[in-house]
Amino acid sequence: MMELLEVKGLTKRYKGFLLDDISFSLPKGYIMGYVGQNGAGKTTTINCINQICHANSGTIYLNGRMYKEDPIQYKEEIGFIGDESYFPKEMRISDIRSIQKTFYRSFQEAEFDQLIARFKLPEKKKISEFSRGMKVKLMFAAALSRDTKLLILDEATNGLDPVIRSEVLQILQDYISDGERSILFSTHMLEDLEQIADYIVFIDQGKIIISETKDDLLESYILIKGDYKELTTELRSRLIGLEKKEFGFEALIKSDEARNVPKGFVINKPSIDKIMVHLIRNSLEGV
């Protein structure tokens, strides 16, 4: 059994929103970036995996099991880090310690204390007095001190300073280093993913647009810029997500079609950000 997380045909209907037949799988020991615009359906997907919301249809396997087969084990195996602290504001670290002890059988108190020390979190303060970075670190301490198999991050690195963000990336790489655990990393801070993600799933308006390895994704497109007037009809037809600006245009082009681009156009390796922007633009044009 190589897949840690398998999502098959996940569909969820809300008023005015449809998460439409989402399928992907995440093998053991890898990091998947789950990306898309606000409102694309990222959090809905995660809520379904976390069993906080009920899907209209579809199945989710975590470590080879469905939730209903063993709900307690399923919850034990997931560590969740959100964009806001889910701990009650009035609590202190000692309260979190006892809650974790009560709720999770795999909770390792010594491990938790070590992480609290390593992250230099204040034992005496209330969580309401914590900075955003401290809250995120506390969520990590709580998740990493249990025997989890899947770490889910939902916009967890938003608003963190660069030093803490790079610390977080190291924690994530440590987490998967034994090859047995995986991470689902939902974010729109795409530069974080550009470094460490193995797979990218890109959803737009509730549908998967792209699902492939990050390396393949980055290699499959080239960013092209130039003067709109110099575009031939033939080249124009190959551009993806054309954006016309006052002093030139910018678009994507498939890498294997980029060889015949005439002189006078600038071609560059795109960032995931740019790929996302132009693909979304492209899908809007199609409507």
């Binding site: 020991g29 890898y30 990091i31 990336l169 190291q170 790489q173 440590d174 998967i176 280093s177 034994d178 090859g179 470094q195 460490i196 993600a197 193995d198 797979y199 390895t213 990050k214 390396d215 980055l218 290699e219 390796k269």
Partner: protein, 123 residues
Amino acid sequence: MKILISNQSELPIYAQIKEQIKEQILNGQIEAGTELPSIRKLAKELGVSVITTTRAYNDLEEEGFISSMQGKGSMVLSKENEFLKEKYLLRIEEGMGTAVETAKRIGMKEDELVNLLHKLWKE
């Protein structure tokens, strides 16, 4: 072993890793029989994805520089290895080709170049 990743490079990251390891094997900085860091350790240290380092190692193995065994890690192959010998030869040919071309450009005679080679060899 030293690997420095550049974001400005035209080469994709897996190719940068591959080329730098290759270079160090060919110039003897990484010796035959050396055990390379595991794919996962390398990914962690470089801050790149596991798939990226996997691809670099797979390419190195395909090109005959290293040998990987499930659960045992990757080892730099000996210089006696046929593939590697060929790589060295190619390298020598390239270097000599440049020397010959440059010599011709300034009108140097063949025996003058050979003499120069003899002199360099003894140094």
